[in-house]
Symmetry: none
Subunit: 300 residues, 2 copies
């Protein structure tokens, strides 16, 4: 550091601003002795006394008052510039750690993450697919995409991904043999092919819209898997009614394939929720990702 340079101005200004050496030292993260000595050396070099001292207090001299008044605005500007630098700095390198359900990738997340990685080449992305509940504080991830909004200190959520259209499908053969459900309550009399959230996880409830609003039902699960392509396969084999994302079912509809039922009764699922903690030291890379996710169209 250039001896007796502008760093001394900062130290002096801090003493003046805080009304004492010890308070200034605390703010500057220096020892009180260091602040005392630094200001003394500064005054010696200048050949000017900026501060009047007694053993219990400190006051500005007239010339110190003037110098302080002139210097403070500039010091504040430099503090701002340093803060801006800190904020920008986060875009340079770092790893963004995400977790998301397996299902999110093909729907929208692969695309979103790829676009993010291209725009911010300095950021590495670590994406852990997991269907389990996640604790943002304990998990070490920057953000967790889940189907629901997470709660916690300083936790925020933004909707991401597409509006999720659901469907219930079955093979024509199954329907011939077991009848067509006419009302949502009819699924209780049918075999259900359900999606499970991993081993030991709950089965996804089936969501419906009725005259009284949205509600969910939990049918009797005949087949359970945590991969919707398997659900499609089981349905084709005539093993029951399968509840899954419509996008996955669409290629398998019609002719010898699957038939949709109860289409008018199905509720759309809410979009995924990007959950993150917006604490004071929220990194720029997380901020950038949240901003990009917000800006993405609902279909993506």
């Amino acid at each position: 550091m250039a001896r007796g340079g502008f760093g001394d101005i900062r130290v002096f200004v801090e003493v003046a601003r805080r009304g004492g050496f010890r308070a200034a030292a605390e703010h500057l993260q220096l020892a009180p002795a260091s602040v005392s000595e630094a200001v003394q050396r500064f005054e010696d070099r200048l050949g000017v006394r900026l501060l009047e001292r007694s053993s219990r207090s400190v006051a500005l001299t007239p010339i110190g008052e003037q110098f302080y008044a002139k210097s403070l605005p500039a010091i504040i500007e430099l503090e701002g510039a340093m803060n801006d630098l800190d904020e920008q700095k986060d875009e340079v390198t770092g790893t963004l750690r995400l977790t998301a359900p397996y299902s999110a990738g093909p729907f929208f997340l692969d695309d979103l993450v790829a676009r993010f990685a291209l725009e911010y080449p300095g950021v590495n992305v670590e994406l852990i697919y997991d269907d389990k509940k996640v604790d943002l504080l304990a998990s070490g991830v920057d953000a967790a995409i889940r189907s629901n909004t997470l709660l916690g200190p300083d936790t925020h959520a933004v909707p991401v991904g597409p509006e999720l259209a659901m469907t219930i499908v079955a093979s024509p053969q199954y329907l011939d043999e077991n009848g067509r459900p006419e009302n949502p309550k009819d699924i209780l009399n049918h075999d259900a092919i359900c999606y499970a959230f991993g081993m030991g996880g709950q089965n996804a409830p089936w969501g419906f819209d009725g005259p009284d609003g949205a509600y969910k039902m939990q049918p009797k699960p005949r087949m359970v898997a945590n991969d919707m392509r398997s659900l499609v396969y089981y349905a084709k084999q005539g093993l029951g009614l399968a509840y899954l994302y419509r996008e996955i079912a669409v290629p398998h509809l019609g002719e010898d394939g699957l038939t949709e039922v109860l289409s008018d009764h199905l509720a759309q699922l809410p979009r995924y929720s990007l959950n993150y903690r917006s604490k004071r030291n929220m990194t720029r890379r997380l901020r950038a990702f949240v901003d990009m996710a917000k800006a993405s169209p609902a279909g993506k």
Copy 2:
């Protein structure tokens, strides 16, 4: 100085402003190595590269460009505040303490000090004529003018005053009675009127230039005084050869006055040396005096 503090901003800004480390170093009065290392440490602490370097040039990174743009106005403000402080400080009353040989006053120092006092009305000048050796550290003076350069920690010297032409004079009567010295060694056969450096001080040796270079001789002192006007008087009285500053002798030459001898053999004395310590307590008034002394023409 608070390490890694705002002093580093100033150093970085200076490199950016001047387009290179060496130019910035010159302006900051630091070694190039110091500037290079200071900016490197700054970048390391920040975790950001502000400058792109090659072996012959330097350029700002994008983030460095932004930081420079934000910081420069504040640095300029602080420079202004420092300049204002310097200007104010010059107005603060203070005492410049000098010591000089008795001989310096009439030659140049009275004039120099008078011009200084007129230009800096807020400064008092205390001038102690003394021919003794002086210890800058112990003496309490700001600067010591002596005929030689002083040595010591942080001690600097600049030549001041006129080139000192010397002369040897005697009365025509004396020369008629005792013969005219033809060579410097002849003065050993004459009575000498010598200048003494105060009571108990040495006599000033007589300086000559010969084919083998400059040398000094110490003649047999018949008359001794520490005021050259007295030496002039003694010489007029025919008491011997007097060695003194030519400027003092000139009004007394010719007619019934004094005659110069050995003029071709005399060495000029080196200019006086203004010795001062440029340590951390170098005041602006001392700096101003040194600058004015440097700027004075050699005849003054």
